[in-house]
Symmetry: C2
Subunit: 438 residues, 2 copies
Amino acid sequence: MTASAPSTALLTDHYELTMVEAALRSGAASRECVFEVFARRLPEGRRYGVVAGTGRLLDAIESFRFSDQEIDHLRRTTVVDDTTLEFLASYRFQGDIWGYAEGECYFPYSPVLVVESDFAHGVILETLVLSILNHDSAVASAASRMTSAAGDRPCIEMGSRRTHEEAAVAAARAAYIAGFATTSNLEAGRRYGVPTAGTAAHAFTLLHDDEREAFAAQVEALGKGTTLLVDTYDVASAVRTAVEIAGPQLGAVRLDSGDLLSQAREVRALLNDLGNQDTRIVVTSDLDEYAIAGLAAGPVDLYGVGTSLVTGSGAPTAGMVYKLVARTDDSGTMVSVAKKSKDKQSVGGRKYALRRLNAKGCAEAEVIGLGETPADDGDDRPLLVPLVRDGEVVGRESCTIEAARARHEASRAELPAAAHRLQRGEPAVPTLFEDNLP
Amino acid sequence: MTASAPSTALLTDHYELTMVEAALRSGAASRECVFEVFARRLPEGRRYGVVAGTGRLLDAIESFRFSDQEIDHLRRTTVVDDTTLEFLASYRFQGDIWGYAEGECYFPYSPVLVVESDFAHGVILETLVLSILNHDSAVASAASRMTSAAGDRPCIEMGSRRTHEEAAVAAARAAYIAGFATTSNLEAGRRYGVPTAGTAAHAFTLLHDDEREAFAAQVEALGKGTTLLVDTYDVASAVRTAVEIAGPQLGAVRLDSGDLLSQAREVRALLNDLGNQDTRIVVTSDLDEYAIAGLAAGPVDLYGVGTSLVTGSGAPTAGMVYKLVARTDDSGTMVSVAKKSKDKQSVGGRKYALRRLNAKGCAEAEVIGLGETPADDGDDRPLLVPLVRDGEVVGRESCTIEAARARHEASRAELPAAAHRLQRGEPAVPTLFEDNLP
C-alpha cells in the first residue's frame, strides 16, 4: 500500500469513536484487550463458509489513519472531543492480529480473526474489519458452492452490474479465490490480477442491420475463437449463421435465456451436425449453484454467473461479529468477558483453533480451545496465522490472491463428502469446544 | 467533482470494450443510439421501487476517463487493439442523459434512465450505470418500506458492518433519501452530509469492571442525553443503574436482543416508575420492515436497522437492465430495436413516461409512450428530467441528497394506500403502454 492510498478511517461507525472518547475519559482505553471475529452460525443450511477479504483488510488497516481532512471533519461535526481528536491524529494500530489464512473454510464460532491491543486501538477497527470480512466471505462462500457444483467446467464471474461498483471489484477477487476462472470486471484485473474475459451483448447484435452483419463484425475484430451470443432472435438460425461465418474454429456460442438444458442439447447436436465439435457452449442467465448442478448432465462447457454470485446466493452478508472476549483488570491480569444477552451470548477468552484431521487427512471437527495452541497437536492443523505483529503487517504473503485460491482448494478438498451437498443441512464438521472453555 | 477524483473507467465489464472495438471496426460505433434502463419486474411482492444513485452516477460519469494508467493496463493485458485504445484515451461522454429524478418511485418497465449518444459512447457506460442504480435503488426501495412502517418514529441506519465498506457509504446515502433520520457511517457524513449518530456497544460495558462503571464513564463523557445499552447482563437491573447514574435526563436506553416488544413494555413501565417518562427506548437487533411494523403497538421511540437495510431486505439488487432500444440505420433514420429472447423481451423505441394522477393527486398509473412527452398532459406528471446535455451535467441540483429526500417523500405520498401494505402484492399502480408502442 502506498502512502497516497486514501484513508479508510471514516469507513467507521460513529459509536466506535464515542466509545474511544468515553474510554479515554474513564482510563479504561489503555486496558489490554482481545477482540474476536466469528459467526454464530452459517447461513441457513450451508455446510461451510469461506474466509475472504483478509488481504484487502491488511491494506485497509495500513490506510487507517486520521489525516488533517478526517480530523477537521470530526472537529467541525463535533463527533468527539479534543482529547480524542489528538488520540486519533496519531492513531496507528500497534497491536497483533491473528487470523484464519485467506481462503480457509470456517464453521460456527471459528475465531476467524483475533485482534490484540489496548481497547482504543482495537475497538476502532471493528466496522472496517467486519465490512470487509462479511462482504468478501459471503461472496466467496457462495462462489465455492458454485465451483464445486460446476466440477471441471470453468465458472466466469460477471456480476459487476448487480452490485455496488466497488463491491463488484472485491466480489471478483473473492470469486477467484473460491475457484472462479475469470471475471468480467476490468478493475479486478488491474488491482488484483484476476484474469478478465468477455465478448458481446445483445446490444451489439441489435446495433447492426442483422445478426449476420453483427457476427461478421465481431469475428473480424475478435477472431474466430470468440464467443457469439445466439439468442437475440432465433437460436438455431443464429447458430447456423455463426458457423457459416466463423467455420469450425468458432470458439463458443452463448445462451442467455430460456430453458438452458434443452437448448444446450439442441445447440450441441446442431453444432456437431455442422461439423463444429470443438465449439463450446457457454450458458448464462441468472445461474446459481442449483442451476449449475441442474446443468451437469447437459453439454455445457462454461458457466457465467452474475447476480447470485455478488449477492451471496441468498446470503449477502456472512453475519460475522467482532466481540471483546478478554481484557486486563486494574492489576493487569487478563480476564475473560462475555455478554449474557438473550440469544446473542458470546464465549469469553483468547482462543486457539485447530482443524482436526483423521488418518486419511479428512476433516472431522473444528476444535476451539482457550489459550495457546497445544504444542503436541498430532494431525490437527492449527488455523490461526500471524497477520500483524506490533502494528506491522507480517501476513501479506499468506493472503495473496493466488495463495488464497490454492489454500481454498486444499481446504475444501479436506472436508468430508457431505460438505459438497447443495441441499440444506448441518455444518460439514461439528465445532468442538475444549474443556477449558467456560 | 474535482479533476483529481479517481477514474471510474475500469469499473466496467471487459465486453463493453471489446464491443467498442468490434463496432469501431464495422463502422457501426458511430450509429446514434438510445439506451434505456428499466426493471422488468419489482422484487417479488413489492408495491413500488425507489430510484436512487442518480447523484452518485453523475459524479461517476464525469470521472469516467481513461488516463495513461488505464490505457497502459489495457494495452499490457491486450484487452483491445490500438485503434480502440486511441478512442478510449480521448473518451468523454458527449451525449444526453435523461432520467427519473432521484428519490422518485418507479414500477415495472419505468424508463428510469435514457442515454442518447453514438453506440461506442453509450454502451461503455452500461456496467457503471447499472452498478450504481441497482445497488442504491435496492437499498432505497427497502428503506422506504421501513420508514413507511415506522411512521413518525425515526429510523437509524447502522448496517455498515454488514456490507462492503464503500457500499456502506452509498447505502447510508440511499437510506437517508428514503427517509432514514441518521446513519452510523462517518464517511457518509463527510461525503454527503448525512447526519451521523451513535453511542456504545457491549464491548464498552464489558471493558469496565461492572455495568455501573461503564454507564458512569459514558455519561461523564457524552452527557446525560446519551443512549445507554442495557442488555449486556440483566435488563431491569441495567435500567435501574442507568437511571441512578443519569437521573431523569437520561436520553435513551437501547435494547439489542430478546423479545423486543415485551421487553420494551417492561422497560417503559420501569422507566416511568422511576420517574423517567422522557427517557426514550431505542430498539435494534436484526430489524426489518416487518419487525418494525410488529413493534408499532409497543412503546418504542427509535428503530436502528442494519443488515436488512444494506442487503435490500431480501432483494439486494434492483434487477435493472441497460438495453439498446433504438439506433439509426445507414440512412440516418432512427429505428426501434428489441431482442426476442425467451422470457427476456424488451420494448423498442425512445420512450416518455408520465405518472397519471387523478383529481385528488393520487397516482393511478405509470404511463409509457413512444417519442416525445405529449404537450397537453393534463394532470399527468412527466417523469424524465434532463441530467446530462451534450456531455455536460445539467441535473445535479435535482439530485442533491436533500432534494431527493424531499422528492421521495412527495412521490411516496402520492401513491394509493395499497402501496404502503407490507404483504406481498401487485405493483401499486399498473404500467400502461400507450398505443403507439409495438
